[in-house]
Amino acid sequence: MNSTPEIQSELMVIGSGLTGMAAALFAANRNISTTLVGRPAEINFASGLLDLMAVHPVKRSQVWRDPWAAIAAMCRDNPNHPYARLNPDDISLAIEEFTCFLAGEGLRYRWRARQNVEVITPIGTTKPTYCVPDTMWNGVEALEGRRRGLLIDFHGLKGFSARQIAESLRHRIPGLRTIRITFPDSRAEVYPEAVARSLENPSTLKRLSREIQPHTGKARWVGLPAILGIHRSADVCGRLEAMLGLPVTEIPTMPPAITGIRLREAFEQGLPQLGVQTFLQHQIVETPETDGSGFRFLIGGDDNVTPVATRGAVLATGRFFGRGLRADRSMIHETVFDLPVCQPETRRQWHRKDFFDPRGHNISRAGLETDDRFRPVNQDGRPIYPTLHAAGSILAHQDWIRMKCGAGLAIATAFGAVNAYLKANPRS
């Protein structure tokens, strides 16, 4: 194993999910020299939808039309929720800054200022969310307008059945028709990434449109699985609309999904251009050293280790799926710094007996407790390291899956953490 020379950086962002990517973006936009480390995995499972807040209280499954009202109600009832450490204007600014970056990378989003919208899911349910990729917005409006449409699926694309969606949505949108297209040429299994890339080729797209054209009939819109291109999805959708003369919408597919790859690639390309030093094939290989004025990390790739010295850090490693938390038979641990994890007393309390228990599982609310500056604290409520901040789903007292607040939590707490660091370490 080779050791490369030490890197000096002001801020280390650990984790390359939505939170880590957002934190690196916010730091770079504030002229903080930033290093990002972590192998992107979780982000490949992203649906592309940016939830803000839709369900509160979880145990009553109350779905809110206005996410801001939901946040206000939730912060009143649960002042420990990470959102309660932010003011709504900051959350709003965070989303603006985040989506502005994505728009620059070709991923445009749409939303209504004070309103959650409903998006069609691959199983034919609808899901409340906030910011929706441009390529999925026509679906939102078609659902609202109960407009008759044509749903397309592909031979060999597993877990995506246009008929399932049409049948399950029959009570919401009458008259949905479906067709299955053999694409590109065989009935064998279709790999979404290959199809998405090939559809960026205009002649392939033209062939697709010719297959669809004879079936449009009285349809007022056309829905397809979200595999219309990777880097230029808006472009691909737009051209297909022009060819068909109908609004086209993408419908999310089962994860891991193209929608996740789009996000990942947008960050992989955009962050280095902002000056972020990214180590996306690396991870932290030993417990970081600290001397009170900063950290020394050892990050390792396939065949080398690199020391990185930084002043501050943002821990954005996620929960269990992101490997930020790890559980053995009796306890939950934080994996990088071995920080104290707020958690139920015993494993018996981790999960409910019913998977769909409306209260959610207690383990989902376990995580790191922080001060108002998003710094992990010890049992006495004191920050453990003066310049270590934590953000995203690793934070305690939230249940992003059930509250439908995952992306909002990631983006807003990353924003809060970076701003808190900046405030304590102002630019000269």
Partner: protein, 523 residues
């Protein structure tokens, strides 16, 4: 509907009895309130006992096991893996039991060969260094689902009828005879009535409840036993702890996995039972004393069953209650066409069916002898897909690129789902996701249905097997059922998996939220 014999319960006894009767030319209907092997017949180790386990506690049962185990190995070899078994004692185990064991086996006519601990560890390298005594016996493993499905399939070929999702609601008596049995289709709510000459209560843990409907009494004790499934098979043979039968003393290989257990916990009702975290931890700690790697191996799921025990001898430990079976004619309740068969073991199911069929036939005036003792059990398509590794090997052999794999963990392709749906539809029931899971390896791998549940649901819509909003209920039901077995084992990798499962099915699909489901009218 009319029949000669109505059998209540689609477990291994009920399906075995259906086959026995059908082979004697007797018409029968099996009614099952859920699905094949939904009770203890599906909630066990799948251990085909040599009898050695019971030499100390129940010599009579030990002899029955010895005889029936040998018969089944000849007659149903396709349901059995003849693994052989070991009895293993480790440091600290009772030396008296160890010393008495060979003598007790001999008295029951059960072959057992003494092994040197070193020899035992050569046979099974995962065994602990603390082995102090070892014996080799003729234990084997049996796939209880295959067994019941094959029994039922053969019975159906001979004219028997199976009604799944059908529960008895009342018996209508006329004097000492039950004339009509009232039932309900639990899916549609439709009422059914069946007239039968003879009625057999083979409802396992529910035998007391069914008997009560007929005005008869059976005092039942419900003893829950939990088991764990590992991701990988840890031993080639069945490993028994060489001690008086107790908790967590059996490790049974089953295809590509191992099954550990069991426990004995008194429960009030057989209806809603869960494998609990304390039980799971106890099983792991105890089993690891014999096979140390079990302390750290990955577990896929847990499950449990209720032993339908009758009349325990002592209150403290339900293992004292006889595992032998009991046949009741309920004559003291004034009934002359109602029989209950309770207790017993998977290994002795055929004998239980035979004895029950003998009584029923005598009452019907049928003199045909039992043929299940001599005629091999035919292998059926219905039962084919429970076997790990079969679907992938056929899939690879055929090499059809259009036959897409729906379950990646266990490599189950579309064609297998087609085959199962066809056979279920012949059994008068809906081809629900859970029913397909029971008859295949779908949902049994490390992802526990996270991905394959929706892939299969989508495919069932494409096939027009599912319509309207049925898929939503199907997915919820399937994931709920899987969850019962996942919940006690969620740490490390399994916890990572379950978080993804919740993120997908609740976070994205919104299955946690009450959806405005399409009503029946929409169909």
């Amino acid at each position: 509907m009319k029949t000669q014999v109505l059998i209540i319960g689609g477990g291994v006894t009920g399906t075995g009895l259906a086959r026995d009767l059908a082979m004697r030319g007797v018409h029968c209907i099996v009614v099952e309130k859920r699905d094949i092997n939904a009770g203890a017949s599906g909630g066990n180790h799948g251990l085909l006992h040599s009898g050695a386990r019971y030499v100390g506690s129940d010599p009579e049962a030990a002899v029955e096991c010895r005889e029936e185990g040998r018969l089944l190995k000849q007659l149903a070899p396709h349901c059995i893996e003849n693994t052989g078994g070991l009895f293993i004692a480790v440091k600290g185990d009772d030396p008296r039991y160890i010393a008495d064991f060979p003598g007790m086996c001999e008295r029951c006519g059960i072959p057992c060969r003494r092994l040197d601990p070193v020899e035992a560890r050569e046979l099974e390298p995962e065994l602990s260094e603390n082995v102090i005594a070892a014996y080799q016996v003729e234990d084997a493993t049996v796939d209880p689902f295959k067994l019941s499905l094959d029994n039922m399939a053969h019975a159906q070929r001979l004219g028997a009828v199976l009604l799944r999702d059908t529960r008895v609601t009342a018996f209508e008596r006329q004097g000492s005879r039950i004339r009509t049995v009232r039932l309900i289709d639990t899916r549609t709510g439709r009422a059914i009535s069946i007239e039968a000459d003879q009625i057999v209560n083979a409802s396992g843990a529910w035998a007391g409840n069914v008997a009560a409907l007929a005005g008869a009494t059976i005092k039942m004790v419900y003893s829950k036993g939990s088991m764990l499934v590992t991701q990988n098979r840890v031993t080639g043979r069945v490993i028994n702890r060489l001690r008086q039968a107790s908790d967590a003393d059996i490790i049974v290989p089953g295809g590509t996995v191992s099954i550990l257990g069991t426990t004995s916990v008194r429960v009030e009702s057989p209806d809603v039972i869960y494998p609990e975290i304390d039980e799971v931890d106890r099983i792991i700690d105890d089993s690891a004393a014999v096979v140390p790697s079990l302390a750290t191996t990955r577990y896929i799921r847990a499950y449990c069953g209720v032993r339908p025990l009758v009349r325990p001898e002592c209150e403290a430990d339900d293992r004292c209650a006889s595992r032998g079976f009991t046949l009741r004619k309920h004559e003291n309740a004034g009934l002359e066409n109602f029989v209950s068969i309770t207790g017993g073991k998977l290994t002795t199911y055929r004998l239980m069916a035979e004895k029950t069929a003998d009584i029923v036939c005598r009452r019907l005036g049928v003199s045909e002898p039992c043929r299940t003792r001599t005629d091999p059990l035919p292998s059926s398509v219905d039962a084919k897909w429970t076997e790990p590794g079969l679907a992938p090997s056929l899939w690879m052999k055929k090499g059809n690129p259009n036959d897409i794999l729906l379950c990646d963990c266990e490599m189950v392709p579309q064609s297998t789902v087609d085959s199962i749906v066809d056979s279920i539809q012949k059994q008068n029931g809906p081809a629900a996701l859970t029913a397909i899971g029971l008859r295949s390896r779908i949902g049994k791998g490390p992802c526990q249905g996270t991905f394959c549940s929706q892939r299969v649901a989508a495919y069932l819509y494409d096939r027009r097997t599912l319509n309207a909003g049925q898929g939503i209920g199907e997915l919820r039901g399937f994931l709920r059922e899987r969850w019962r077995g996942q919940r006690p084992l969620l740490w490390d990798t399994s916890l990572i998996q379950s978080e993804l499962q919740e993120a997908m099915h609740c976070g994205l699909f919104g299955l946690d939220l009450p959806s405005s489901l399409p009503t029946e009218k929409d169909r």
